[in-house]
């Protein structure tokens, strides 16, 4: 049982004062980010990424990962008390969670959300402990053609899962590739798309892109509609669910955990998709579907479990294959690359301290989050009274600090502003921004794999179908593309 030995070594890494502090700090920031509407986990990760440059890789990654799963816990508080999702994965929790709060059962809704999140998060990490090393071991023999095919599959799956137009999704992927191509070609040193600018020769900064697209864009979208909301539940009571609540929700929690974990694994899936799917499943299989939308506790337990399990699931492809499944894991991949670490099949073998440290930290982090979210729920509820008009200038100041800190270059602020405006306009026109970020992060690896594959074969691109694993992965990609076109053709009005 190498996994258990690895996990024990991981606990040895994480159970130091500094790493425990960083795990707790990340959990606290994650909960805060989840609670405050208009500040998503991606923007928070991007803002705090420069802080991790001064930390050890283990400490930095532990903090960033705990912000990610911490936000999933915190998001439910806002959904239940305010009927506004704290972050995207908690949208469906608004439906029944807020209804429960209106019926005076905010405590039970918050309690079941926190307990469901804890159970699912822990189950997800247990499966991750045994599953991730297996995948990495299987992928260790991959060469450039297999890596290329795997990344193509990841991008195709992302396009399959996105909401809205597939053509727009494809366009965003291509734009991501193009943006990543700006700078010096690492293979031969040629400058591309720099137009003689020194600022562009180093490439477009990942943080400026992410903070612009997901921080500034979010602020612009929120200031457009300054909604005044009132917090329900002056005093939150009865956090521990009753026996009837347990009876109604334990199956939903387990189903949500399983579904969330699987959807987290799939590129393009992740916590948001998982929570929606879980809600749909619970309503479909319920003996009393009419209760949904009127305060059904399963409608809180299932989605909250699903979005937390999806976090563990979505970390597996990025840590064991180097393939991010959503923008947050793309940023985590970027954070590792900045630290000089390349996640992939060799990651588990070459950096066991880091891999198992992250896994072990998730067990610890889930306990921290349960403690933070149950006894301190009243504090989080008070934070919801901070009006957005006070919050958004601070978010913008933090965005500026986060962007500037990466390179100490004011040019990055202009890049951030440009991407913020572009992201706002594109969102208005129903473009999904997630494929752009994933393509932007994957592009250097994808290009390198493609060029290595073509260079190593006298037959050119034929090598991609001569190698069985690469051919299989590309065949699956092609099948998904066919499915996408069939789905598009079935919808009246074309590509929606």
């Amino acid at each position: 049982m190498h996994e258990l030995e690895g996990l024990m070594a991981g606990f040895g890494v994480i159970l130091t004062a500094q790493n425990l502090y960083l795990c707790f700090l990340g959990s606290l920031i994650g909960t805060l980010v989840g609670v405050l509407p208009g500040v998503g986990p991606l923007a928070a990760l991007a803002l705090l990424l420069p802080v991790t440059f001064t930390l050890s890789p283990v400490g930095g990654m532990v903090m960033l990962a705990s912000i990610f799963y911490g936000a999933m816990y915190g998001g439910s508080t806002t959904s239940i008390l305010l009927n506004i999702p704290g972050e995207a994965a908690s949208v469906v929790t608004c439906i029944d969670g807020h209804q429960m709060a209106r019926q005076g059962r905010a405590g039970a809704a918050l309690g079941i959300a926190a307990i469901g999140s804890f159970i699912a998060g822990t189950l997800g990490v247990i499966v991750m402990t045994f599953f991730a090393p297996l995948i990495a071991a299987a992928a260790i023999r991959f060469g450039p053609p297999e890596n290329f095919a795997l990344m193509v599959l990841g991008l195709v799956c992302t396009l399959f899962m996105i909401s809205g137009s597939t053509v727009k999704g494809v366009l965003m992927v291509a734009l991501g590739f193009l943006t990543a191509a700006v700078g010096i070609d690492v293979v031969n040193g040629h400058e591309r798309f720099t137009f003689g600018s020194v600022n562009l020769s180093g490439g477009i900064e990942l943080l400026a892109v992410v903070i612009g697209l997901f921080g500034v864009t979010e602020v612009l979208a929120n200031v457009e509609e300054m909604v005044q909301s009132t917090v329900l539940a002056e005093r939150i009571r009865g956090l521990w669910p009753t026996l009837a609540d347990w009876r109604d929700s334990w199956r939903a929690m387990l189903r949500g955990s399983g579904l969330g974990f699987v959807l987290g694994l799939v590129p393009g899936g992740g916590p948001v998709t998982a929570s929606f799917m879980s809600y749909a499943v619970e309503r479909r299989i319920s003996a009393h579907p009419e209760r949904f939308g009127k305060g059904a506790i399963e409608g809180v337990a299932g989605p909250e479990a699903a979005n937390n399990a999806a976090v563990a699931g979505s970390l597996i492809p990025v840590l064991s294959l180097g393939i991010p499944s959503n923008p947050v894991t793309a940023l985590l991949l970027g954070a590792l690359v900045i630290q000089g670490i390349q996640p992939g099949p060799l990651f588990v073998a070459q950096r066991p301290d880091l891999f198992w440290g992250i896994v072990a930290s998730m067990y610890v982090g889930n306990v921290f989050l349960l403690m933070l979210n149950l006894p301190l729920v009243g504090l989080w509820a008070q934070l919801l009274r901070i009006p957005y008009r006070v919050l958004f200038p601070i978010v913008l100041l933090l965005s500026i600090v986060g962007t500037y800190s990466a390179n100490k270059n004011v040019f990055d602020l202009w890049v951030m502003l440009g991407f913020g405006i572009a992201g706002y306009v594109l969102r208005k026109l129903d473009y999904d921004l997630a494929p752009f970020v994933i393509a932007f992060v994957l592009a250097p690896l994808l290009e390198q794999s493609l060029r290595q594959s073509l260079a190593m074969s006298p037959d050119g691109a034929v090598i991609l179908i001569q190698r069985p694993v690469a051919a299989l992965l590309l065949a699956v990609s092609a099948a998904i593309v066919v499915l996408m076109f069939r789905r598009t053709a079935r919808i009246p009005g074309g590509d929606q």
């Binding site: 420069p50 802080v51 001064t54 137009s165 053509v167 727009k168 494809v170 366009l171 992927v173 291509a174 734009l175 590739f177 193009l178 191509a181 070609d185 293979v187 031969n188 040629h190 591309r192 798309f193 500034v216 602020v219 612009l220 200031v223 457009e224 509609e225 300054m226 008009r389 006070v390 958004f392 200038p393 601070i394 913008l396 100041l397 933090l398 500026i400 600090v401 500037y404 800190s405 100490k408 004011v410 602020l413 202009w414 951030m416 502003l417 913020g420 405006i421 706002y424 208005k428 026109l429 129903d430 592009a443 493609l450 060029r451 073509l454 260079a455 009005g493 074309g494 590509d495 929606q496």
Partner: protein, 146 residues
């Protein structure tokens, strides 16, 4: 609808210009694929997608761009960020940040002058204390040393 059509036409032009530039970089060199191959593929995809979107516009997407006060708030945020990018190298983070905060609070939410000043100074002081002093991330300073 008009704006979306213009954007779709822009994608085609962007793709064509990028393809031409990528071609000039070289597609295949003596040692295999060259610098222009990958951008060329991306450019062709952008062009093709733009063409499809232009020929098959989506009638269901009726985007509502902001007008009036909402547009004013958005322009206020953009102006605030632009002031920050222009002023920070000369005035430092603290002073530019305070000015930007005041612009945002006055134009976007029309907070009272005294409230804006208090909130701006408190927020900037908190950010500088956290990042500059606690986390050791040196923020740009103005000629007056902060």
């Amino acid at each position: 609808m008009m704006f979306e059509r213009a954007l779709n036409a822009f994608w085609i032009l962007l793709g064509a210009a990028t393809a031409a530039y990528a071609w000039s970089l070289g597609i295949v060199g003596p040692s295999g694929p060259d610098s222009g191959l990958f951008p060329l593929i991306a450019a062709i995809i952008i062009m093709a997608a733009g063409l499809i979107l232009l020929l098959r516009p989506n009638p269901l997407v009726a985007s509502q761009f902001p007008r009036g006060a909402a547009l004013g708030r958005i322009l206020g945020v953009i102006a605030g960020l632009a002031v920050m990018a222009i002023g920070m190298p000369y005035l430092g983070f603290a002073v530019t940040g305070a000015i930007t905060m005041m612009i945002l609070l006055r134009t976007v939410e029309r907070t009272s002058l005294s409230g804006s000043i208090a909130l701006a100074l408190a927020s900037v002081a908190a950010v500088v204390w956290l990042f500059d002093h606690m986390l050791g991330m040196v923020l740009p300073r103005g000629p007056w040393g902060f």
